[in-house]
Symmetry: C2
Subunit: 222 residues, 2 copies
């Protein structure tokens, strides 16, 4: 007895199809440049379908944003199949790796990354919920990893700064891809390269965090 029986999903197939197609279009060209005509055309639905099923273009967008976020986290969960007794180093590595994969993956799961990148430029009302329900827990998880790496007694500010330094490196290649591509035209982002990149980010961050921990101890903590 599944909570969502198949008939409930098949009931409004066009609504689901619309959600899927809108995700594609929004990710490709953004909310503003996307037209409901294009979305309905690709979804093989009537122009009026968006307004009928979602009210208007904006509510369709927020539905898309929530849906893509769910799909992305289901496809690439933040812990990425980690043993319960993993070391902090392993946990950091898994965090970085799953984050990179989630962002750079092709297919439906990648849409969320693109949409979020656009949200950074022009935040919509949907961002508040998204940060509270998805980003916040992820940030807490990373901060706990950093805490166990840098040792006890580190200030909250230090933990926050280090966590940001880790996340920033992951997001950079996605966010600045247009520049990176032009700077290094031969650079590819296949699964092999992503693994190397994850390894670098992990090692770079581990070295920095551990060094900061040592330096703090020498100074007698603070």
């Amino acid at each position: 007895m599944p909570p969502q029986p198949p008939e409930a999903t098949a009931q409004d197939a066009t609504r689901k199809h619309l959600l899927e197609t809108a995700g594609e279009v929004f990710a490709e060209v953004g909310f503003r440049a996307a037209t409901v005509r294009e979305i309905c055309l690709r979804a093989e639905a009537n122009i009026a379908a968006v307004n009928y099923h979602f009210g208007d273009k904006e509510r369709l967008y927020t539905a898309v944003l929530q849906d893509t976020c769910r799909v992305a986290l289901e496809t690439y969960p933040p812990n990425l199949g980690l043993a319960a007794k993993a070391t902090p180093e392993q946990r950091l590595s898994a965090f970085v790796r799953s984050f990179l994969l989630r962002i750079f993956s092709e297919g439906p799961a990648a849409r969320h990354g693109k949409l979020m990148a656009r949200e950074m430029i022009e935040p919509t009302g949907a961002l508040d919920d998204l940060v509270r329900e998805n980003v916040q827990p992820m940030a807490a998880m990373l901060k706990s990893i950093v805490r166990s790496l840098v040792g006890p007694g580190a200030s909250e500010e230090t933990l926050r700064l280090c966590a940001m330094s880790v996340v920033s490196q992951v997001l950079f290649y996605h966010h600045c891809r247009p520049v990176v591509r032009r700077l290094y035209p031969d650079l590819k982002f296949g699964s092999v390269e992503l693994e190397q990149l994850a390894e670098h980010i992990t090692q770079f961050s581990l070295a920095a965090i551990k060094q900061l921990g040592k330096a703090r101890k020498k100074r007698g903590g603070k």
Copy 2:
């Protein structure tokens, strides 16, 4: 005998005013959402002024992008008044600090950062020239700093990865400000906080780079 005598600039004051105002509007709402009506209204120019002086909206935009880039680099030069015999550590610190200031500054110099952030989402034809003439030299400068920090014999890939790790941390707070603001509502980005942030990024990166250099030496280079 200045190469650009004052009469040449005063000649078409509306063109200059248009460039200035367009920079404001484009930075605020982006190329697509910006309207030539709004730009001309703020510039106290006629609707047709854009087409007369720049041909069309797109060519106005590229002119704005080049102009703001020039202003930003003039206001916050990458070396930031550094002595000729500065240590690599000082050079890295100056690079990070000037980069942060250039991006987070208020006023006309900040526009370039906002426009570039939008270019990352929807690159225009103007990006190619910009990367070639401005980003590329900056990347080379940073790479040379990293080279002198990590020690001789490091691979080009290592240098590139480390340089990216540095830049990414700088760009993160600007690019992800909507999320950061929601995660830490009390966080401010005044001049004091920017100095602290620059210090963290510098120390974090220095620790990581030097550690990578040591590790490479121990392994006998590569």
